[in-house]
Subunit: 162 residues, 2 copies
């Protein structure tokens, strides 16, 4: 089980195995999300571990991160070899926290909607969904935290029949 040339992937192979276009991979490389060594003829050769990084990038985008944010997150991992168990765990755990936050946000949104369904949502003065936005405006121009918890006030009371 020596280290043969199968340990390095051409950009075409990486594209095929990751499901991404080669143009996207070149773009990711330019952004510093992935790294490639070069052959003497200047062609890219990717380490196999790049597949994991790419999977990570796609997953992160799914959760709503920009590529810039992903880059920051991935900076904790070595760019040219497989990460150690420890390195990977650190990133994975941070990552789980991010997912948890996202889930919490969605659940908050859902709860608000549940309140709207059950209660007099049609009354504009009581609809939590509506009010969430309306209060956002009070916070000043450009306030755009949407249905997120209002940073300026404690946890929101659930909307209820009254």
């Amino acid at each position: 089980m020596g280290i043969g040339r199968h340990d390095l992937l051409t950009i075409g192979q990486l594209a095929e195995r990751s499901g991404l276009a080669t143009s996207a991979l070149r773009y990711y490389e330019k952004l510093g999300l992935i790294h490639a060594d070069r052959t003497t003829g200047n062609q890219r050769r990717f380490a196999r571990s790049t597949l994991r990084r790419v999977a990570f990038v796609r997953a992160a985008q799914q959760v709503g991160l920009s590529l810039e944010e992903v880059r920051t997150a991935l900076d904790r991992l070595p760019h040219d070899r497989a990460p150690s168990h420890q390195e990977w765990n650190a990133v994975a755990i941070a990552w789980q926290r991010r997912i948890d936050r996202q889930i919490a946000e969605l659940e908050l949104m859902k709860r608000k909607l549940t309140g709207c369904i059950g209660c007099g949502c049609l009354s504009l003065t009581r609809c939590a969904l509506y009010n969430a936005e309306d209060r956002a405006a009070q916070a000043g121009p450009g306030a755009r935290y949407l249905l997120t918890r209002d940073p300026a006030s404690g946890p929101e009371p659930l909307p209820s029949a009254e």
Copy 2:
């Protein structure tokens, strides 16, 4: 409590109360997401119920819908008056299902990651995160369902120590 001119909002008022820029609201109107009547002098006047629609649009974007998708969803609501309880409920419930799907997807992603942390994730042949992507590639070029359940196979087994 008669119907006075306070029942209509100028674009500036709508912007202030929704937290969006007037340019965004004009853009939404162009896309058919919201509707405005016009004064004799051609200025927009929005019904108060537009605030709810706008809140909805922002919430939908948060969950990852494009404005085009939002438009389709909102087409079930009347554009120029407050929706009836029934109309609103129908949309809200469909909406909750969408949120549930999104949450389920995130939880799947998290479970995969949990497996990665506990197990030999560094083995490329066993990492669920990695394999999810890799299998996507097998499905043909352009397959991009990311960490979603593979449509071609049943529910995925959880990654485990073995």
